[in-house]
Structure formats: C-alpha cells, structure tokens
C-alpha cells in the first residue's frame, strides 16, 4: 500500500466524516470507561476503543438501507452505521428515551431504521441474520448488502461457519467481517484457533478471504470497498479479517492479567487508528490539523452533553415491562 492508498476515492468531506466517526466512538467509549468506574452504569459494557477504524472503514461504504449485524461489542458499529449516539447513551443508562426505550441496554442496541440489526448478547448470533438480509435483497431485487461483525472467538461458533456456507450456496451479498483482537475474554486466539489467519477459512466456502490491518482506516476502507462492490454487483459473499487490538478489558471490570505488560500502551503508541489517520491525511496535505482538532473539540462537547442528559433522563415507567410483546396470559 502506498502512503494513502484508498484515500484517493475519498472526498475531503468523507475524510472528515470518517475521522469524526472514529473520534465519536473513541470518546463515547473512553467516557463510558470513566463513568462505569463510578458505578452508575448498569450491566455489562464491552468497549470498542482501539477498533474504530474497522467500523468506520466498512460503514463508509454502506447506505442507510444496507444492514449490519453486530456483537456484544457493538457501540462502534452502531455509531458508524448512523445510530444516534445520544439515544445510545440514554439506552446504556437504561432510560425511557434510549434507542430501545431502555429495554435493550448496551448489549442490544439496535435501530432497524438505520439498518442496524442489533448488538447481540449471543456470540455468533449475527451472521445468520445477515444471510437473511442478503436473501431479502436478492429476492426483492434491490442492491442492498449486509455485513456481519464477529470476533476471533466468535469465529469458532458453529453459526458463523454455517452462515459462510449458506451465503456461498445462495450467492448472497453478504460480507463477514472478523475482528481479530487476539482475545476472546481472557483466552488467546493463539489457543482458540491456533493463531491462524481466520480469513483463510474463506477458501473452504468458495469465497475470497483477506486479512487487513484493522488499525489502518485506509486498508480497511479499501478491502471493504472491494468486497462490498463485488457483493452489490452479484459477485457473492466475502470474508475479511481485521487484525486489531482492544484498549480496555473484555468488559468493564476486567483486570486483564492475561495480557502482557504494556501490551496496550505499545499499541496505543504505535498503531492507534486515530493517530495513524491523522498522520496520513495531514502529511499528505488532504486535511489540516486544525480541522481535526476542531472535530475533537466538537465531539468532546457532544459526548459530554450525551452523558449529562442521559444521567438526568427519566427511567422507563412500570407499564413498559409488558409492552412490545404479546401477552399470552
């Protein structure tokens, strides 16, 4: 790859959008990390910080009526797909005006109007769903595509393999993204799938499989673009593995003693996606430092506002306990 390969296709506005997406995710997650420590955030929270380039790189190619299916680590995908971060923050705080009216929480953030089929509490839950979206697009003759995200640990779940094969047999416009951050909870990919390139499994399903650096927005953008174009043109499914790191624990509260000392610090220093992006676009003269700084500032204020309002927002009222499901008795 040349210095800013992939960037050629992108207008300045698109570059700024991508940066804003990544920055929004980063601030959203870092702020949740802080807030979680205060004890005010209920339940399990899995943070996406460090992996932003993947969500931003894929979603830059998707339209609102394209669909994604996410994982337990879903905030980044949701934000990049266009879910309202404020409504998401409300949701994570369990409030009535949350994106799912407080019924879903962090692990079930969804917005079907934005093509976001949901974070998912079940590892491997998403890939079958995108096969369905692919089938729907094919049957109705639209050129929508569907993208599922799965972790390196999730890649060993039977549902994922079945979906790869079904998408292949049915020639569906589906892209299966593997976010390989090296760990499933405390268990290393070196053990759980012997450290292989997971994308090489694509071969067993007659589809292209590529490995990209998940810290590098432009690498992701390029690989995603190729796969999504192919899918839209009827060329069938693909698998893309993004090698990446997560900055925080598996979930908030994880002491992470299974990781090497300084593991994260080093990645943050060498490979941070925001830093890499910034360096690339400014040194190529595509964007000015000050423009990015301004985004940083705006995002910071916005996330502040999200948290402030979320904390103050009202809880769901009791009658909602039994709405949105028919009551058999």
């Amino acid at each position: 790859m040349t210095e800013v390969a992939g960037a050629k296709e992108l207008s300045k506005e698109e570059l700024l959008d991508a940066y804003r997406t990544m920055r929004t995710i980063r601030d959203f997650e870092e702020r949740l990390h802080e807030e979680f420590a205060t004890g005010e955030i209920p339940g399990f929270v899995h943070l996406y910080a460090g992996e932003e380039a993947i969500a931003a790189g894929f979603m830059a190619h998707l339209d609102e009526d394209d669909y994604i299916a996410s994982t337990h680590r879903g905030h980044g995908h949701a934000i990049a797909k266009g879910c309202d971060p404020k409504a998401m923050m409300f949701e994570i705080y369990g409030k009535q005006d949350g994106l799912c009216h407080g019924k879903g929480g962090s692990m079930h953030i969804a917005d079907l109007d934005k093509g976001m089929l949901g974070a998912n509490g079940i590892v491997g839950g998403g890939p079958p769903l995108v096969c369905g979206v692919g089938l729907s697009a094919r049957t109705r003759g639209t050129n929508q595509v569907a993208v599922s995200f799965t972790g390196d640990g999730g890649a060993n779940q039977g549902t994922v393999f079945e979906s790869l094969n079904l998408a292949s047999a049915w020639d569906l416009p589906c892209i299966f993204v593997i976010e390989n951050n090296g760990y499933a909870e405390a268990t290393a990919q070196a053990f759980s799938s012997k450290g292989i390139d997971i994308a090489k499994r694509a071969d067993g399903f007659s589809m292209p499989g590529v490995v990209v650096d998940g810290h590098d927005f432009f690498a992701v953008y390029e690989a995603a673009g190729e796969a999504i174009r192919r899918a839209r043109e009827g060329g069938g499914p693909s698998m893309i593995e993004c090698k990446v790191n997560r900055y925080f624990g598996h979930f908030e509260g994880d002491a992470q003693t299974y990781r090497a000392a300084n593991e994260v610090e080093e990645v943050r220093k060498e490979k941070d996606c925001l830093m890499l992006f910034r360096r690339r676009v400014t040194s190529a003269g595509l964007v000015k430092e000050s423009e990015l700084d301004q985004i940083d500032e705006e995002v910071k204020n916005y996330i502040d506002e999200c948290v402030r309002e979320a904390k103050a927002a009202p809880e769901p009222t009791p009658e909602h306990l039994v709405t949105d499901v028919y009551a058999s008795y």
């Binding site: 669909y67 299916a69 949350g98 994106l99 799912c100 009216h101 407080g102 019924k103 879903g104 079930h108 969804a110 917005d111 079907l112 109007d113 089929l117 949901g118 998912n120 509490g121 079940i122 839950g125 890939p127 079958p128 769903l129 995108v130 096969c131 369905g132 979206v133 692919g134 089938l135 729907s136 697009a137 049957t139 109705r140 929508q144 569907a146 039977g158 549902t159 079945e162 979906s163 094969n165 079904l166 047999a169 049915w170 709405t323 949105d324 499901v325 028919y326 009551a327 058999s328 008795y329």
Partner: protein, 338 residues
C-alpha cells in the same frame, strides 16, 4: 370447498399466500428437492411432500438450503426484519436443538429488546409427534418448550380446515410463529374452502359440546378425545372437547367457560408431562376456575421417557382413546375401567 388432506391444505395455504404476496418465501432442506442434482427439480417437495409443486409455480419464492438450521432459521429472522415474510422449515421439531438460539433469543426477542422497533413476520413450519416409528430423535412434540418463550406464537392445527386457515394467519402475523404439523395427520382429509381465509391466532374451538367433562386436547390428540367421547357417550357421559389450536396465545376464556359449566377437566397432550401444555392448562384451570371444579383435573400425556422405536412400545407411548376415557371416568368418579 373440497375434501383435501391436511398436507394439501398446508400446501394450498402456502401457494395462495405466495401468490398474493411475493415477499412470502419458503425454504428449508429439500423443500424443492433436487437443487444442484442432475435429475429433476421438485424431486421431493419436502421430506413428506408438503411443499411439492410449489417450485413449478413460484420458482423464485421457494429454495433449498444446505443442512445448516442455525443459518437458515436465523436467515428467516434477518429476512423478516428486512422486508420478507419467510416460511422456513425445521424438518422435524426434534432438530430445534441445533438452532434454538436463533428462534428464542433472536427472532422471539427482537421486538421487546429493541423497544418495539422490530417486526419479525416469520413462520417456522415443523413436524412433530410420534406414530411413524421414527424413534427418539424424530418423534417428540416439544411445543411446550416454545410455548414457554415470550415472543413466540405457537400453532398446532388438528384438522385440514384449521391447518389452512391458521397457516394463512401465521404468515400474515407480524410476530414469529412456530407452526406444528402432525406427521400422522398429513393424510387425514377434511372439507376445506378453496379460497384463502385466516383463522385468528388465539381462538380455541369447541369441537364437541357436552356438559359433563371438559377435555382440552391438542393437535392429533383431538381425534383421540373424539374417539373417547363416542365411547363415553354410550355410557351416558357427555364430554365437551376444546381444541386450543394456538398454544400461545392461549384462549383461556373458552377453556374457563367450558370448565365453569362442566366442573371437570382432562387435558390430553402428546408431549412429555413435566412443564408441559397439560400442566400449563391444568394449573391455569386450577387457579382460575377453582370454585367451579368438582374433581381433580387430569392429565393424559406421554410418559416421562423419550419416544421408543419399537412399534409395540410406541403404541403404548402415545395417549389413546382408552386412556382418555379412563381419565374422564376418573374425574366423574366412576373409577378406572380395568
């Protein structure tokens, strides 16, 4: 109106709905039968032939799948969220164990978890029940497991007429529906209107009127109850038979009304007894009709054992008219016939 089989009634319902709405798609293992093969397409039309002939009429709306129930049942859920009304087949309900997550944690919960924002109009057609010597892994009833789950609708038709009307209603419903087809009933014939009609989910039917004992019977068990009723009638016992038709939602009103009149209840359920429909209905009646009950409610179910293979054992496994009649006699205090 014509006399057709339960199987044909389901086929007709699928055809009419596919015709009416091209977002209705049908898929499953060998639902066409022959995909990729050198011989003819539509070679099977489903393992029992329920979807036979649909491929000729709707080649773009019916397809075969690899053997990957999680993927294609999940695909039904994903498709339902994005513009289709899929009818996916889980060939035997016994296979639920390889794909239950996509049913109960995904499809069933989307609407609730997403705060009402999802609509998941899908039908899972599945075959249940003993009687064809298919042994432990191909003969279970299992509808209690689905009935337990909020967000799923559960339909168990007992006649060709109901099969057609309930299938049409299920396809038009916006929640995920599990549609239980009894494999022994496939060959049973009955009068069925030619045109499309929907039987609302959640409405029981009174199959026979009587004042002495209420029998609630499910699916194939309705005919066992009917046979028992004839017998009992000659002894002067008139039973009322209620067929719930949908187990979730359950038409408790009709059941309660009947028991309020008869004061006696027998539930006939082909499933295993623990945490079953029989126990569900018996407990509801005990709670809600207590003051009307003249005798202890009775359950007639399979034993707490897997379905056996041997014909001589399988015939003992399924509730039969004699056991139903015994239970009825027990509630009216005439003791068990010896």
């Amino acid at each position: 109106m014509a006399r057709i089989t339960y199987m044909q009634a389901i086929n007709d319902a699928l055809a009419q709905e596919m015709e009416r709405d091209e977002t209705v798609v049908v898929f499953g293992e060998d639902n066409v039968g022959g995909t990729g093969s050198p011989g003819e397409m539509d070679a099977w039309g489903g393992v029992m032939g329920v979807t036979k002939g649909l491929y000729g009429k709707f080649p773009n709306q019916i397809f075969d799948t690899p053997i990957s129930e999680s993927a294609f049942i999940g695909a039904a859920a994903g498709a339902a969220c994005s513009g289709l009304r899929p009818v996916a087949e889980l060939m035997f309900v016994d296979f639920m164990g390889v794909c239950f997550d996509q049913i109960f944690n995904q499809a069933a919960k989307f609407k609730y978890m997403f705060g009402g924002k999802a609509k998941t109009p899908m039908v899972i057609r599945t075959m249940y029940g003993a009687g064809i010597r298919a042994a432990s892994q191909h003969s279970q009833a299992l509808y209690p497991l689905f009935t337990h789950i909020p967000g799923l609708k559960v339909v168990v038709p007992s006649t060709p007429y109901d099969a057609k009307g309930l299938m049409i209603a299920s396809i038009r419903d916006d929640d995920p529906v599990i549609f239980f087809e009894n494999k022994v009933l496939y060959a049973v014939e009955g009068e069925v209107p030619d045109e499309a009609y929907a039987i609302p989910l959640g409405e029981a039917e009174i199959v026979r009127e009587g004042d002495d004992v209420t029998i609630v019977a499910i699916g194939r068990m309705v005919s066992m109850a009917e046979q028992a009723a004839a017998d009992l009638s000659s002894d002067g016992i008139e039973v009322e038979i209620v067929d719930p038709r949908t187990l979730s939602p359950l038409d408790t009103d009709t059941i309660y009304e009947s028991v309020e009149n008869t004061g006696r209840l027998v539930v006939v359920d082909e499933a295993n007894p623990r945490c079953s429909m029989a126990s569900d209905i018996a407990s509801l009646v005990a709670q809600n009709c207590f003051e009307h009950l003249k005798a202890a409610p009775q359950m007639v179910t399979a034993p707490h054992a897997p379905p056996p293979f041997s014909p001589s054992l399988e015939d003992l496994y399924v509730p039969d008219p004699e056991k139903v009649a015994d239970a009825v006699r027990k509630t009216v205090g005439q003791g068990v016939a010896s």
